[in-house]
Structure formats: structure tokens, C-alpha cells
Amino acid sequence: MNPRTVGFALVAALTVVTPAAAQAPSEPIGRLQVGVGVGWLGGASFGEQPADLRTASGGPYRLFESETDLGAAASFELRVGVGLTPRFGVEGRVARSGPELKASVSSDAEASGTFTISESIDQYVFDGGVVIRLNEFQAMGLLPFVSAGAGYVRQLHEGDSLVEEGQLFYAGGGFTRVLFARPQRFVRAASVRADLRLNVLSLDLEADSSRLQGSLAGSIVFTF
């Protein structure tokens, strides 16, 4: 099973409606939570950038058109958190993905057709933020939450030839569903979690430009 399939399976598991118990089990407060998961990082557009020459009037003569996108990719993540109160928690996350940077070149003055030029990137994200559980909206064993935070982004270009660093801000939300709770055991609880996020990414080498990226992730979380 490939990672993307696993991600969809985990998310799907959360959306299956099961008969709710009269009182759903809850995650212990003040305990360490460790989660692993997979997900899908949405693509982002860098927009169009033509290659223009200069004419006698100073206007542009188009040598070719180009449009650059960062492709969607599977991601893997490790999450660590702690519930401070029944409503508030804090968490940190490290995620790795391998999106492809693609430039589509067309309308060349001397060559017909469209050319796709690409490069693989290793992207690492280290972020942290707050989680607010919306206990009042808990239903059918699903506990909704919202989250927000910030982080550090590190992109390694092909062959580790260039490291780009940047910042990330995110806001999102999702659901958790407790699978079991055993307060006296080493593993006190396990739950599954689905996250949907909107990320604002800014890289230091791309001055004055930020891009929006959506992401979806499913993970299994153990409480110790």
C-alpha cells in the first residue's frame, strides 16, 4: 500500500459513523501524546513568468512563456503534543515531503510545443502551535478541534545543491476519535486524527512572495 493510500484510509476511518456510546472515552490530560501519520500536501502555483526580450521601443518581445508550479505530494509526519486542559493543548510536528517543482514552457519563438521542466525537492517542516478542542461539538465519538501555529521550512533541491529556508504559518482543524483509553497502562490511550490545514509558506530566496498550500493528513496518536 502506498503512503497516499494509507493517508486516505486513515481519513476515511474517521469519517465512518459508528454508533456512539453514551459517553465516548476521552484522552487523558497532561500526558505526552505521540503521533505518526501520512498525508497529502497540495500543490502551489508560482504563477506565470515570461522570458521577454527588449524591443526598440523598450517594450517586450516574448521569447517564450513559462508557468511554474510546486506539485502535490505525499507527506509523512511525526507529531508530539500534550493536552494542557480539556480544551487547550500544544503540539509540535515534523513533516517530510518530496514535491516536484515543474515549469511548463510554451510559445517559444523558435520551437513548437510545450516543454515540461522539473526538479524534485525534499521539504522538511518543523512547526508548533496550539490546539483548541471544541468539546461542545463532540458527536458520534468525533471530537472536533481547530489549530494554528507557525514553523520553519527547509527545502533541499536536487542533489542537495541548494538549501532554501523559510517560514510557515498555518490554521486548520479536524477531528479526533479515541480508539481506546486505558488509564492504568503504559499506553494510556490511542486515537486517530484527521487534519486539514491551510499553510502560508514564505521562502527566504523568494523575496516578497508567499504561497498558499492546502494539506490533509491522517495520523494515529498514542498517549503515554
Partner: protein, 333 residues
């Protein structure tokens, strides 16, 4: 001095260019040494130049000096390059005399009826140091100093900016598109460098302003303190049927800024493009078919029988270093 002095010259033309100079990778003028090409450059911290007192219709000697001085300022103020100039005075000395003076001036050269201006050098053939360089502007043409350009005349400052590029040691850039004129010669559709060998034509003043290829070229030749540590190099080889392609025009395209910076492949197909903004670049390879080949390179062996090609991978210019060399495969026409 043990070095032998030699003359070479380069010219900006109206329709067709002639260049019996030697061009090296990255479009720097160079001299061939047994150990390899040596780029020619000034080593003096401040280069002194003189203006000839000859005036032409529409341009006084004072206007001539002022326009050339402003063209020098254009190159001097490139933030990533370190080179300075000093106007040393007016002189009756004429360009092309071997007199240890670098002289700019008008001359009438009716036999060079397609040459707007030309630059000559006296260089130390051991070190590549420029000892003297003269620039002439052909007074058989009508010249203008109008800020907005005169449609009947060539803009003096634009041509001076081009010639000063040569004066600094830059060769011709091939970033440009042309079409053949029915009456012969070529018309420029667009150029990506002031150092393109064919003029934009009468009335055009656009070449008063440098383009990314010009800035990278002069910065690579006269780097400011942090230039090399803050920019990157892309190097590789152009191949066709496994063999290196000589004289291919290789351009690095920055998909974020649109900047185009180019060079030519050497006899073995290798190329090197410096002064690039760190990050991924597209690589476009084309034959030298937008001007006469001898505008750029010694023609024998230059291959122009291949198709325009985009390398399928984005190539990253690292910060302060070079990429791992790669091959660009081109197909015959």
C-alpha cells in the same frame, strides 16, 4: 615588458556584424594561451579615458563627453561589480593610435558602412591585462543625444554603453531574436542584452539600460566583494549523438524573475554560466542563428545544425558554488 602587445577589435553594427576577436565561454573576450583562454580585463582600480574633440552634426564635443560619461556611469553603478572610471580630459589624439591613451571619439570610416562603433585593445598577452582601449563612433551615421531618441539618428549613449561593455572585456551576447530584411541584413525583433551585436536601430534608446546578462557578465569579470559568494554557477555540456557541440548558445532562465543569462559552449561542448541568482533555472540551448556566427565565435567548427532544446530538468545554481555538471542532449535539425 616581456608581454607582446596585440590588437583586437569588436564592433556594433547596424545590420551585420563582423568580429575577428576571440570569444570565450561566458562571453568574455579572451586571448588563447597554451594553458587555456585568459579573459582580458582592466586591473587598474580606476580606468582613465579621454574624449576626442571632434564634433559631428547634432553632437558637440561637450555633448559627446557627457553621453560617454553617462554610459560609463551605467556600468560603474552595477552594484555587484567593482570597476571605476575617470574622465582624464579632452584630447586631439584619435582612437586606434598606440599612444597609451584610451580615447573615445568620432571618426569617419566610410568603408565600414555597417559599423556604428568599434573597440580596439592593446593587451598583455601573458596576463590578459588591458593596457589601452580605444573606441570610435562612425561619423558617417547621424547621431543623437536626445533623451527620447531621434527616429532619424542613432542614440549615442546606447551605442557607447555597448562599446564600453567591450572596453571592459565583454564579448557579444547572443540573447536576441532577429529576422532577415528583404533588402539584406537583419532586423532585431528583441534583444536580451545591451551586448547583443546588432543595434536596435535609429531612435531606440532602450540600450541605455543594462539587462541581466550584461550585469552578470561585468560582475563575473569585476566581482564586487560578495558577488561570487552570493551567486551561483551552472555548468554542463551540450551533446548531440554523444559528441560535444561546439558553439551552442546556452541560456539559463530564472522562472521566478524571468532573467536570461547566456553563454556559448566550447569546442568540447562544455559551458559555464556564472553570476546566477541562486535557485532553479531552466536551460535553453539554441544554434547561433540570429546573427552571423563570426559575431560571436571563430566560425570553423561551430555547429548550428540542431534544434532548439529545453533541458528536461530544472538545474539549481547553488549559493557561492557550482552545480554537478550535466549533459544537455540536442537533436539534429
Amino acid at each position: 615588458m616581456t608581454a607582446r602587445r596585440v590588437h583586437t577589435w569588436v564592433a556594433l553594427v547596424t545590420l551585420i556584424i563582423g568580429l575577428p576577436g576571440v570569444a570565450n565561454a561566458y562571453i568574455h573576450l579572451a586571448i588563447d594561451r597554451p594553458s587555456g583562454p585568459v579573459a582580458i580585463r582592466w586591473t587598474a582600480p580606476r580606468v582613465r579615458w579621454y574624449a576626442n574633440t571632434t564634433a559631428v552634426p547634432g553632437v558637440t564635443a561637450a555633448q559627446f563627453q557627457s553621453e560617454v560619461a553617462q554610459a560609463f556611469t551605467t556600468w560603474e553603478t552595477v552594484p555587484t561589480a567593482s570597476i571605476a572610471f575617470e574622465f582624464a580630459g579632452f584630447t586631439s589624439a584619435i582612437p586606434f593610435d598606440d599612444d597609451d591613451l584610451s580615447v573615445f571619439g568620432f571618426q569617419s570610416e566610410p568603408e565600414m558602412d555597417r559599423v556604428l562603433g568599434a573597440t580596439t585593445f592593446i593587451v598583455d598577452t601573458i596576463t590578459g591585462n588591458i593596457i589601452e582601449s580605444d573606441v570610435f563612433f562612425n561619423s558617417i551615421f547621424a547621431w543623437s543625444t536626445s533623451v527620447t531618441g531621434d527616429p532619424a539618428r542613432f542614440d549615442l549613449r546606447s551605442v557607447a554603453t555597448h562599446e564600453i561593455g567591450h572596453f571592459l572585456g565583454l564579448g557579444h551576447s547572443a540573447i536576441g531574436e532577429t529576422e532577415m530584411r528583404p533588402e539584406g541584413g537583419r532586423r532585431v525583433l528583441g534583444s536580451g542584452a545591451v551586448m547583443f551585436p546588432i543595434s536596435l536601430g535609429r531612435g531606440a534608446v532602450a540600450d541605455r539600460t543594462l539587462q541581466p546578462d550584461d550585469i552578470a557578465g561585468v560582475s563575473d569579470l569585476y566581482p564586487d566583494g560578495d558577488f561570487r559568494s552570493e551567486t551561483g554557477v551552472i555548468s554542463g555540456r551540450v551533446r548531440m549523438n554523444g559528441a560535444g557541440v561546439n558553439g551552442a548558445h546556452v541560456v539559463a532562465f530564472n522562472p521566478q524573475s524571468g532573467a536570461l543569462i547566456g553563454t556559448f559552449s566550447a569546442r568540447d561542448g562544455t559551458f559555464r554560466i556564472g553570476g546566477l541568482t541562486p535557485g532553479p533555472h531552466g536551460i535553453r540551448v539554441e544554434p547561433l542563428d540570429d546573427a552571423d556566427v563570426d559575431s560571436f565565435l571563430d566560425p570553423p567548427g561551430v555547429n548550428v545544425n540542431f534544434q532548439v532544446t529545453f533541458h528536461p530538468r530544472l538545474i539549481v545554481a547553488p549559493v557561492g558554488g557550482a552545480n554537478a555538471s550535466f549533459d544537455v542532449a540536442v537533436q539534429p535539425k
